[in-house]
Amino acid sequence: MSLWENVKMALDAIWAHKLRSILTMVGIVIGVAAVIIIVAIGQGGEAELTSALTGDGNNVIIQPSSKFFMENNGVIPPDFITDLDLQGLRQIKGVENVITLSYETKSLSFREEEVDDVFIYGMNDNAVLESSGLKVAEGRAFRPADFQSGNAGALISHKLKEKLFGEEDPLGQIIRIGNQPVVVTGVLEPPVGFLASLQEMEVYLPQRTWSNVFGKSEIMQVMLEVDQPENMIEVGEKAVNLLHHNHNATDRYEVLNLQQIGDMISGITRVMTVVIGSIGGISLLVGGIGVMNIMLVSVTERTREIGIRMSLGATRTHILVQFLIESITLSVIGGLVGILLGSGVAALITLLSPWNAVVSWPVALGGVLFSMLFGVIFGLLPANKAARLNPIECLRHE
């Protein structure tokens, strides 16, 4: 008796009790859909978090080594990165652009409103914004001339704008960083999606303006834009060697390892996905027990059918296979519907929310195989019960 014949027989039996079959499948459908949606959100979130934190470009970031940072109690000396260093870095093969970044926290005020501990960044290129995924919503980004000027304007974060200006137009207003007045020339878009909750009170200034505000010119971080991703490691090593050589030092500079950060993020989201995914798995288990339950009912109801089939030459194996395939068919149909539902919901989440839910096809395939496995596991007991029935008693069964 062929597999297809058995499947056809199973479909007939499932079709004969439509409502019951649908209700039984619901458990499997919800279980599989839940697992797919959760994993899709988890993976989408991971991709977004990784790109948000590490940027999209091929950037190598040089920062003070943790040892150096500790030894100096967090104070970066004025000569940490000199103009000579920057010239040298520009000449490393593969480096397309050298971007500098300085930062300091300072209190900030507008009229009577004061905010403490605002992050004030100084930068020599708009690329800093791009690499962090930040866009200018109102006003404008810095022009090349602004980077030359010692008194250009400031870009403020959306959250800061809300805090200081409320509904008022911030463009052209003068804020005070410490005692230094700075004109607001632009407002950044609020970060979306995964990082929305992380948004901060921030101000971005051109490097020279920053130096004037703080009366110092230390560069705390250098970002090198590299032409090819595969050159990043080499460029990073060369840059650190060059700086150590220029300053006659060791263990003073280090490359910020984005790969490590990325791995860390993946690790965290993976654990989350597994934990929440196993909750979905439990609902799948409950669905499987539903399948077993209904199959046991079905065996009892069809006792006479089993007797008839046996009297006509069905072996116990035939009966076992028949009920096993019926249970697998039931589970697999549930699994397939679950995948459709899960993918649909994931697509809807992507469409309607800032979350990007990525359906993982290996997980979807796993869902089908898993529901098939459940069909086998939860079908074995009822099928075995059916196969062990005595044909004579079955024929007498009312």
């Binding site: 008839i308 006509l312 030459g313």
Partner: protein, 230 residues
């Protein structure tokens, strides 16, 4: 040929052993037309189950066409039921969800016959019992007599040498019953072994040999009205 030698059958009920058949010796030759009679509880259904390989004797031997099947395993018995025996039951025992044709095909499914061949043979078998135009009807859409004829077509489909019928007219009115009995007569004329189980003397009289069971033993065995030695 059906040959039973000193066959006992007993059922276990808790700690009690209840003997149902005691020392049955019986030979039914190929092509015989036999009726097994007896009051309820005499063991005639048990005897039919044994002959039909739905059950095995507790002791003794059962040779079917020369082969000892009393110790055969479940798989072997299923194959015997499939190919050598055609069952007809009092309650027809058709599968309600299937059409007449699909019901008739069922033994061929377990014999591993292709769909095309099955369809052809099922239609032939239904035509033989006069139901060629009812092949797509479900059992509930057929009268009792028609259902029993479908069951006979199903019993014949694998061309078995033995037809075993358990009260085949028990659930039918007289005229339907007559029609069914006519079919059995015809099967006998075709050379098949026909074994009927009945408590109706009129039905039993159509057979050429009557065996009477009482308390698990054969008490009478008449061939064409003459006694035969068991």
């Amino acid at each position: 040929m059906i040959q039973l030698e000193e066959v006992d059958k007993a059922y276990q009920m808790g700690s009690m052993t209840i003997p149902v058949l005691k020392g049955i010796n019986l030979i039914i030759n190929e092509g015989e037309y036999v009726a097994i009679m007896g009051p309820s509880g005499s063991g005639k259904s048990t005897l039919m189950n044994l002959i039909g390989c739905l059950d095995r004797p507790t002791s003794g031997h059962y040779y079917l066409n020369g082969e000892d099947v009393s110790k055969a395993d479940e798989r072997k018995l299923a194959a015997v039921r499939n190919r050598q025996i055609g069952f007809v039951f009092q309650q027809f025992q058709l599968l309600p969800r299937m059409t007449a044709q699909k019901n008739v095909e069922l033994p061929l499914v377990y014999a591993g016959v292709s769909q095309k061949e099955r369809t052809k043979r099922a239609i032939e078998a239904l035509e033989k019992v006069g139901l060629g135009d009812r092949k797509d009807h479900r059992p509930t859409e057929l009268s009792g007599g028609q259902q029993q004829r479908v069951a006979i077509a199903r019993a014949l489909i694998n061309n078995p040498s033995i037809i075993l019928a358990d009260e085949p007219t028990g659930a039918l009115d007289t005229s339907s019953g007559q029609r069914i009995m006519d079919i059995f007569d015809q099967l006998h004329q075709e050379g098949r072994t026909v074994v009927l189980i009945t408590h109706d003397p009129e039905i039993a009289a159509r057979a050429h040999r009557q065996i009477l069971l009482r308390d698990g033993q054969i008490v009478e065995d008449q061939n064409q009205g003459k006694e035969v030695s068991g």
